[in-house]
């Protein structure tokens, strides 16, 4: 899988996100301070925001091409987007949430088996519960499972550990590592925690004020960046 961001320009306030990058690692972290444009990048890939210039190409499939007016709608993009607030459907059970996008089954990509996703994320005891009765960590896992079951070609995770206490963070991180090991699905992982990048990512893009400040394996990048801890 390759996600190409070609001459991409997304107008934001107070700056514009301008990216030119080809991402092909299994897990790519998008790292930077809040307000650097990380979430906007995920929204653009998910089709919830459209670039003013440039192209977004996912594994040879053009999702956006501003010059030619191409805008693939979100439902046809096959992206598993997990928002920062997890956005679970409050009126559906956990099972209802998990199955919401299941069965989209794009012909070329068979859907993942529900049992396997439930097993990897440890959701089997939660299936009948309502989202309002779940803990923060459980909610993140359900949102992750729902995205996985929609047969995505890429997972977009927006700070999946933010707002959790240390214990829950570690538990969700464990599940993320399991997901990484169990499914060969590429992941674009937005975070402002260097520790998460090191634990999970194969490659990291450092975003600053809408521009790529550095791109490479976390080990190399973080050695060369002096102000990581302040991000």
């Amino acid at each position: 899988m390759t996600l190409s961001l070609e001459g991409l320009r997304l107008p934001l306030t107070p700056f514009a996100l301008e990216l030119d990058a080809t991402l092909s690692a299994h897990v790519t972290a998008v790292f930077g301070p809040s307000g650097a444009g990380k979430t906007s990048l995920l929204e653009a890939v998910a089709g919830l925001r459209h670039p003013e210039r440039g192209r977004i190409v996912l594994s040879g499939r053009v999702l956006d091409d501003a010059a030619r007016g191409v805008r693939v709608p979100p439902r046809q993009r096959a992206v598993g987007y997990v928002t920062q607030d997890d956005s679970l459907f409050p009126h559906l059970s956990v099972a209802g949430n998990l199955r919401y996008g299941a069965g989209r089954g794009l012909a070329e990509r068979p859907a993942l088996a529900e049992d396997r996703v439930v097993d990897v994320l440890g959701l089997s005891l939660l299936l009948d519960r309502r989202p309002s009765t779940l803990s923060g960590g459980e909610r993140r896992r359900v949102a992750l499972g729902r995205a996985l079951l929609s047969a995505p070609e890429i997972l977009l995770l927006d700070e999946p550990l933010s707002g959790l206490d240390r214990v829950l963070k570690d538990r969700v991180l464990e599940h993320l590592l399991k997901v990484k090991a169990a499914f060969p699905l590429p992941i674009l992982y937005v975070t402002h925690e260097a520790a998460e990048v090191v634990a999970l990512a194969d490659e990291v893009v450092i975003l600053e004020s809408g521009r790529v400040a550095a791109l490479g394996p976390p080990g190399e990048i973080f050695q060369g960046v002096a102000h990581v801890s302040s991000a």
Binding site: A46, R75, S87
Partner: protein, 225 residues
């Protein structure tokens, strides 16, 4: 003073036409509420004003407008004549139309707030999960707004039950044909049948109380409890 009595045929007629009015109004009113809640377009403020106008315009004035519009020489009246070969004014159909117009603002305003309270993020996520616009509407937007929609429909129904001013102009007050609870109370008082008027007063008070009480309960209960 006449004996206390409930004019059941009038009550039954009023309930039926009010229910029909709300049923016919619902698809249009809800679509309008959704449009106002979710879209920006030129002329939006004008549309909002038009929708709310029946709330503040004297009902009799609204009735006069409807009478001109639906009369034999009005565009609405001609269309009804050409399409269905029927007269509208001074029939039960005019009662339904008067009730629809007068209830519209209550339905649209209540449902609009309900739609605005649905987090657009949930709809966006549903789209990324492969849902079409129709599926987003039927599985996310409408269920999450359902209590507000139900409350709006109930308020519209209650408003329709009590409609007087527009009805009397466009449908008249023809006993057995267009007389509703509200116009019957007026008739009964005018003709000294106070007992019958009090009977209808009791019925309309009970209906109004029940409708408002239920809609308040629905509006206050959270959908995702």
């Amino acid at each position: 003073m006449s004996a206390f009595a409930v004019d059941l045929p009038v009550v039954w007629f009023t309930l039926r036409v009010a229910a029909l009015a709300v049923l016919l109004l619902a698809p249009f009113g809800l679509a309008l509420a959704l449009l106002l809640a979710r879209r920006r377009f030129p002329g939006k403020a004008l549309l909002e004003t038009l929708v709310s106008l029946p709330l503040v315009l004297p009902p009799v004035a609204t009735g006069l407008l409807l009478l001109k519009f639906l009369g034999r020489r009005g565009p609405g009246g001609r269309a009804a004549q050409a399409l269905f070969g029927m007269d509208v004014v001074f029939t039960w159909k005019a009662v339904v139309v008067a009730m629809m117009v007068m209830s519209l603002p209550l339905l649209v305003r209540t449902a609009r707030v309900a739609f605005e309270e649905v987090n657009p993020r949930l709809e966006a996520v549903a789209r990324t999960l492969g849902a079409s616009e129709a599926r987003v509407l039927s599985t996310v937007t409408l269920p999450l707004a359902s209590r507000g929609i139900a409350a709006g429909l109930l308020l519209a129904f209650a408003r329709a039950l009590g409609e007087f001013g527009a009805t009397i102009l466009v449908a008249g007050n023809i006993p057995g044909r267009t007389t509703t609870i509200a116009t019957a109370i007026y008739n009964d008082v005018q003709t000294g049948l106070d007992g019958r008027a009090y009977g209808l007063l009791a019925v309309s008070a009970a209906l109004a109380f029940g409708a408002i009480f239920l809609s308040e309960v629905w509006l206050k209960r959270r959908t995702n409890a």
